[in-house]
C-alpha cells in the first residue's frame, strides 16, 4: 500500500514554534465559568427570569394601570377576578384581579405592594451587607482580642430571637414613622447583619494566612490595599450568594410583621398587608388571599433557588 504513494506528494513543513505554544482556547475566567455553569442550571435560569419579570411588573404596572392604588369603586366591591369595570369613566376596563372590600383594584395594589415589599427587602439587605462586611472584615482582619470581643457581641445578639428584637424596635421607631416602611428597614437591619458579619469574618480569617496575602504584605502592600484588592474580591462569590439568600428572609420578615399588623401603615400596602386583608374575607373571596400569597411564595422560591444555583456555580470544587 504505502509503496504506491509517491514521495513527492509529501512536503516537509518544519515545526512552527509559535503555533505550538499558542493557547488552543481562550482561557476561561472564574466569573465567565461561573456564569456558564449558572445558565446550564435550568431551575436557576427560570428563577432569574421570574425575578426579572416580577421586578418589571412592580416597576411598570403602577405607571400604566388605568386605576390608581387608592381609588375606590363602591359600586362593585369584592368583585371577582376579570371583572369588567362599570364606572362611567372607566367602563369596559377590566379589573384583572378583581377589587377588594373597599372597591380598590387589586391588580394595581398587588404590584404597588410588591414594590414596597421588594424595596424594603433590597434596602434592608443592602444595609446588612454594608454593616456585615465592615464589621466582619474588621473583626477577621484584626484578629486577637478585638476579634474575640466583636464576635462575642455578635453571639449575644444572635442569642436573642431576632423577631422579638425586630418587634420591639419596630414599636419604638414606628411611633415616629408615619409610613411604617423606614421602621421596618431599621428594625430588620438592626439584627440582620450578624449572619453576613460571621460569614465575612470566617472568610477573611481563612484568607489572610494564604500565601498570596503574605506575598502582598512582603511587597509592602498596606492593610487597606490587602483588604480591598485581595480579601474582598476573594470573598465576593460567597457574599453574593449570602445576599441572594438573605432577600427571601427579608421578604418573609416583612410579610410576617405586616400580617400580624406591625408592617406598613395605611394607605400604603405591601404583600404582607394585602395577605392580612385577604385573610379576613378569604372564606368568601379566596382570591384576595391567594394573589399576595402566591406573589410572596413565588418571589421567595425564586430567590432561594437562584441563590442555590449561584452557590453551585461559584463552588470551585464543582469547577471543571
Amino acid at each position: 500500500m504505502m509503496d504506491n504513494i509517491e514521495r513527492n506528494k509529501f512536503k516537509w513543513v518544519g515545526p512552527d514554534i509559535e503555533s505550538g505554544e499558542a493557547m488552543a482556547r481562550k482561557s476561561v475566567t472564574f466569573g465567565r465559568d461561573a456564569m456558564r455553569r449558572l445558565f446550564k442550571n435550568k431551575a436557576a435560569g427560570v428563577c432569574l427570569v421570574i425575578i426579572v419579570l416580577l421586578l418589571l411588573l412592580t416597576i411598570l404596572v403602577p405607571f400604566f394601570s388605568p386605576f390608581t392604588m387608592n381609588e375606590q369603586h363602591l359600586t362593585h366591591t369584592n368583585a371577582p377576578m376579570g371583572f369588567v369595570c362599570t364606572n362611567e369613566e372607566q367602563a369596559g376596563v377590566v379589573h384583572l384581579f378583581g377589587t377588594d372590600a373597599l372597591g380598590r383594584d387589586i391588580f394595581v395594589r398587588t404590584w404597588e405592594g410588591g414594590r414596597i415589599s421588594l424595596m424594603i427587602a433590597f434596602v434592608a439587605v443592602f444595609i446588612n451587607f454594608l454593616v456585615g462586611v465592615i464589621y466582619g472584615g474588621i473583626s477577621g482582619y484584626m484578629g486577637g482580642l478585638v476579634d474575640n470581643i466583636m464576635m462575642r457581641i455578635v453571639e449575644v445578639i444572635n442569642g436573642i430571637p431576632y423577631l422579638m428584637v425586630v418587634i420591639l424596635l419596630k414599636m419604638v421607631v414606628g411611633s415616629s414613622d408615619p409610613t411604617g416602611i423606614v421602621s421596618l428597614i431599621v428594625a430588620y437591619s438592626a439584627v440582620g447583619w450578624t449572619g453576613m458579619a460571621r460569614l465575612v469574618r470566617g472568610q477573611v480569617v481563612a484568607l489572610k494566612e494564604q500565601e498570596f496575602v503574605i506575598a502582598a504584605k512582603a511587597l509592602g502592600a498596606g492593610s487597606s490595599r490587602i483588604i480591598a484588592r485581595h480579601l474582598l474580591p476573594n470573598s465576593l462569590s460567597i457574599i453574593i450568594v449570602e445576599i441572594t439568600l438573605a432577600i427571601p428572609s427579608a421578604i418573609f420578615t416583612e410579610a410576617f410583621l405586616s400580617f400580624i399588623g406591625m408592617g406598613v401603615t395605611i394607605p400604603y400596602c405591601s404583600w404582607g398587608s394585602l395577605a392580612n386583608d385577604g385573610v379576613t374575607v378569604f372564606q368568601l373571596y379566596p382570591s384576595q388571599l391567594w394573589i399576595p400569597a402566591i406573589c410572596i411564595s413565588l418571589t421567595m422560591l425564586s430567590f432561594n433557588l437562584f441563590g442555590d444555583g449561584l452557590r453551585d456555580a461559584f463552588d470551585p470544587r464543582l469547577r471543571r
Partner: protein, 313 residues
C-alpha cells in the same frame, strides 16, 4: 465539660441581661406613658400613680426594680386588660406550648426521616420529591400554608364529602389540632430535611461506612447504626433556632386557626397598641427561647463526644 457548661451559662446570663436592658430602654424611649388617656389626670393623682409604680425614682433604680420584678416572674400589667401579664401568660401559654411541642416533634421526626430517605435513595424520585417539599417549605410562609390547609382540607373537603375530617378553628378535639400543628411545622420540617440530607450524604461517603459495608453488615444496620447517629448532629444544633421559628410562627397560625394561645394575645396587643403587654410578652418569649437554646447547647455537649473530650483534658 465543666468549662463548656460554665461558658454556656455565662452566655445565657449575658444574653438575658441584654434582652432585659433592651426591653427596659425601649419602654422608656416610647412616647407617652401608661397613664396617657382621653381623660386629663390631675397632677396630684398623677404623682400618686407614679409613686405607686415607682416611676418617680431615678432611672437606675427603676432598672434594678425592673430586673427584680423580672426575676420574680412579674412581667408588668397589661394596659388594655388591666391584669398582670404573668397571669395572662399562664392562662394562654399552655395552648401555645401544646401546639408548639406537637409541631416541633412532627417537624423533627418527619424532617429527619425525609432527609434519610432522600439521601439513601439519592437521585431517584424520592430524592426529588423530598427536596421539592424542602424548597417549598422554606419558601412558603406558615400563614400561607395555614390558610391553604384551612381552605382546602378544612372547608372544601368538608363541603365536598360532608364529613368533618378537620376542624378549622379552636383547640379542643384532636381533629382541630392536626392542621395548625402541620402548618406550623412545615417550614421547620423543610429546613431539617434539607440539613439531614446534606449531612447524611456527607457521612455516607466516609470510610467507616465502607468498612461497615465491607464487614458484611446489612444496609439497614449501616444506615441506622452508623450513618444516622453521626449525621443527626447538625440537626441538634439547629433545634434552638427551630424552636424559635416554631414559637414565633405560632403568632400567625394561632390567629388563622383562632387558637386562644399567647400568640393570639400578642397579635391583639400589637393591634391595640398595648405596649406593656407587647414588651412583657416579648420578654417572656425571649427568655423562654434563650433558655431553650441553653438546654439545646447542653444536650449537644452531652451528645457530641468532641465537646466531652475537650473538657477531659
Amino acid at each position: 465539660m465543666l468549662k463548656y457548661i460554665l461558658k454556656r451559662v455565662g452566655y445565657t446570663v449575658v444574653t438575658l441581661f441584654a434582652l432585659l436592658t433592651l426591653t427596659f430602654f425601649i419602654m422608656h424611649a416610647l412616647p407617652g406613658d401608661a397613664f396617657t388617656g382621653q381623660k386629663a389626670i390631675p397632677p396630684e393623682v398623677m404623682a400618686n400613680l407614679e409613686a405607686k409604680y415607682g416611676l418617680d425614682k431615678p432611672i437606675g433604680e427603676q432598672f434594678v426594680m425592673y430586673v427584680g420584678n423580672f426575676l420574680r416572674g412579674d412581667f408588668g400589667v397589661s394596659i388594655k386588660y388591666n391584669r398582670p401579664i404573668s397571669t395572662i401568660i399562664s392562662e394562654s401559654f399552655v395552648y401555645s406550648l401544646d401546639l408548639g411541642v406537637r409541631a416541633l416533634l412532627f417537624a423533627v421526626i418527619a424532617g429527619v426521616l425525609l432527609g434519610i430517605l432522600a439521601s439513601v435513595k439519592r437521585g431517584t424520585g424520592w430524592d426529588t420529591a423530598a427536596m421539592l417539599i424542602a424548597i417549598i417549605g422554606v419558601s412558603v410562609p406558615s400563614f400561607i400554608v395555614g390558610s391553604v390547609l384551612q381552605y382546602f382540607l378544612g372547608l372544601q373537603l368538608f363541603q365536598a364529602t360532608g364529613i368533618k375530617f378537620f376542624a378549622v378553628t379552636g383547640w379542643d378535639a384532636f381533629n382541630s389540632k392536626i392542621l395548625p400543628a402541620f402548618a406550623l411545622s412545615f417550614g421547620s420540617l423543610a429546613t431539617i430535611s434539607r440539613l439531614m440530607r446534606t449531612s447524611m450524604l456527607d457521612v455516607l461517603g466516609q470510610d467507616y461506612i465502607k468498612t461497615a459495608k465491607a464487614k458484611g453488615l446489612s444496609n439497614r444496620k449501616v444506615i441506622w447504626k452508623h450513618a444516622v447517629r453521626n449525621a443527626i448532629m447538625p440537626v441538634v444544633t439547629v433545634l434552638g433556632p427551630i424552636a424559635a421559628a416554631v414559637l414565633t410562627g405560632a403568632f400567625v397560625v394561632e390567629r388563622i386557626f383562632s387558637i386562644p394561645g399567647l400568640g393570639k394575645f400578642f397579635v391583639q396587643s400589637v393591634r391595640e397598641n398595648d405596649y406593656t403587654m407587647i414588651a412583657g410578652t416579648t420578654m417572656f418569649y425571649g427568655t423562654f427561647l434563650i433558655l431553650a437554646n441553653f438546654v439545646v447547647d447542653l444536650a449537644y455537649g452531652f451528645i457530641d463526644p468532641r465537646v466531652k473530650l475537650e473538657g477531659g483534658k
